[in-house]
Amino acid sequence: MPEIGLNHFLIVSALLFSAGIGVVISRKNAIAVLCGVELILNAAALNFVAFNRYSTPDARLDGQIFTIFIIILAAAEAAVALAILLNLFQQTNTVDVDEADTMKE
């Protein structure tokens, strides 16, 4: 049983990132797309924490602090996106991003 190291974290985060991209590309429901974005953000946050723990020799906490900001920003972004989405839903009765196409020429 090998000890858990940086690579394990990086593999998990790469998987999370790929899953997030997959969701963003394949789903048409705006809320599902936002969930995909959360996965991408969490993948990056995991990277920051892991890199801070394993590859910065001195005791600085840059990566950890960055992660706190990512968590805050993710919440704020979700709030903004859902507010706009709610407004669109009241007008069109759908959260399908493909339906938002009245401007195509």
Binding site: G36, V37, I40, N47, F51, A81, I84, V97, E105
Partner: protein
Amino acid sequence: MGNDFSQTQDLISRGLAGFIPELVLSALVCVLLLADLFIRGVKPRTTAWIATIGLVLAGATLWPRLAASGEIFGWMQGGTQQGLLVTDRFAWFFQMFCLATALATLPMALDHAAFRARRMGEYHALVVAATLGMFMMAGAVNLLIAWLGIEFASMASYLATAFDKRDRRGSEGGIKYVIYGSVASGVMLYGLSLIYGMTGSLHYGAIAQQLQVSGASDLGLMTAALLVFGGFAYKMAAFPMHFWCPDVYEGAPTPFTAYLSVASKAAGFAVFVRFIAAFTTGEGPSFVAFGSVPFDASFGWPTLIAAAAALSMTVGNLAALWQTNVKRMLAWSSVAQAGYLLMAVAVYAAGRGRPSGGDLGPLIFYFIAYFFMNLGAFHVVTVIASRTGAQHVEDFNGLGRRAPWMAFGLTVCLLSLLGVPPTGGFTGKLQLLQTAVENHLVWLAVLAGINTAISAFYYFKLIRCMYLHENQAGLVTTGTTNAVLLALLVLPVLVLGLAFSPFIELSRSFGF
């Protein structure tokens, strides 16, 4: 412990002293929101005046920073100072630029039909908040602050795009903006985390040092660079992240579209140029880590940026040809303009390390011209649209007779966007082409020339409608404020085209 505390206190108080314009803007956001909430029946004009006074105050406190240089909120690390934000002439220029854009779009917002009889404090607060985010983008020398600045500006922009809640197109534009935007920023963030992992630092100076000392794995850095470039391209509205542009520009309230197309693009370029400066060392034309085999030694940031520039201008101009909606046409035109501007960044990245290279003058000059010509064009579109409901190119038929001065102003701005003498756009584009040729990017300069010819079709389509097509509709009255603003925006376009030498010198002095 006590010593540490007093040091930190000292650090923060010194940092805050250099942070006054940003504090003024933060206070202005709060004041605007509170005025909207607590003053019963507050008029749009009142909140616009509050915003004007606040922005002018921020500009006055920003002015002394022209002479300042150095990083603020910094600490000593390994013998070098590492800060979060930098105050220098380059940051000063772009901060003043965004502030001026916010000021210039205020009268447009007052004039916008859909905004009448609405509480406008919230809208102004959003614009000021976006400007605050752009201040951070222009001064960021730390990956965290760069990303936070981008997010701050984006989030205020998402809300302002969807501000008119009764307008379905506004909501559609808003949801597209927020979804594409959050994906782009997430992808960029993943790239930033890889850069942090490979260099162990968030500070640009430290990253540059680390890359020079050790290098890093080619493949890793290339992946990170591509991911990060996606995020920056989104803010610059450049290929490959340009597709949000037409829908958002069409859906957003026109005054905000004007703000977005000028300030947001400028801040995107500012944050990108600073980032690039850290990643291109003084050694040669290519990105440090790409220099060795297995990749062609000529591949690197300059090549990447030049390719993005070429595709931006070509895609933008070709798509603009088919547009019948004026705002969409100007949106694609702004994608093409991002391509021309990226040309200057490619030259800058390629020229770092050469004695004559690293000159940001052409970029800055083109931005000065772009400020006037693009805002001028959007100003006329706002004024005409709020009086006649015009959206399509045919709605501008006969405008040369119905509103002669507005039509004249729009014509000058379009000719400048096209790059015809004697306008600022011509001088700016000439400089861009000249520096591209001097720096062995002849193919890019030729492509830009071909693109200029293509863009003539759609710019002239609008001009032809205004002067050659008849329309029996009556005269359009425009009001004094609008006429004054038009003159303030159009005259500099001509001045920059006729008496350009002092401005070329001036713009050269804003590089770093």
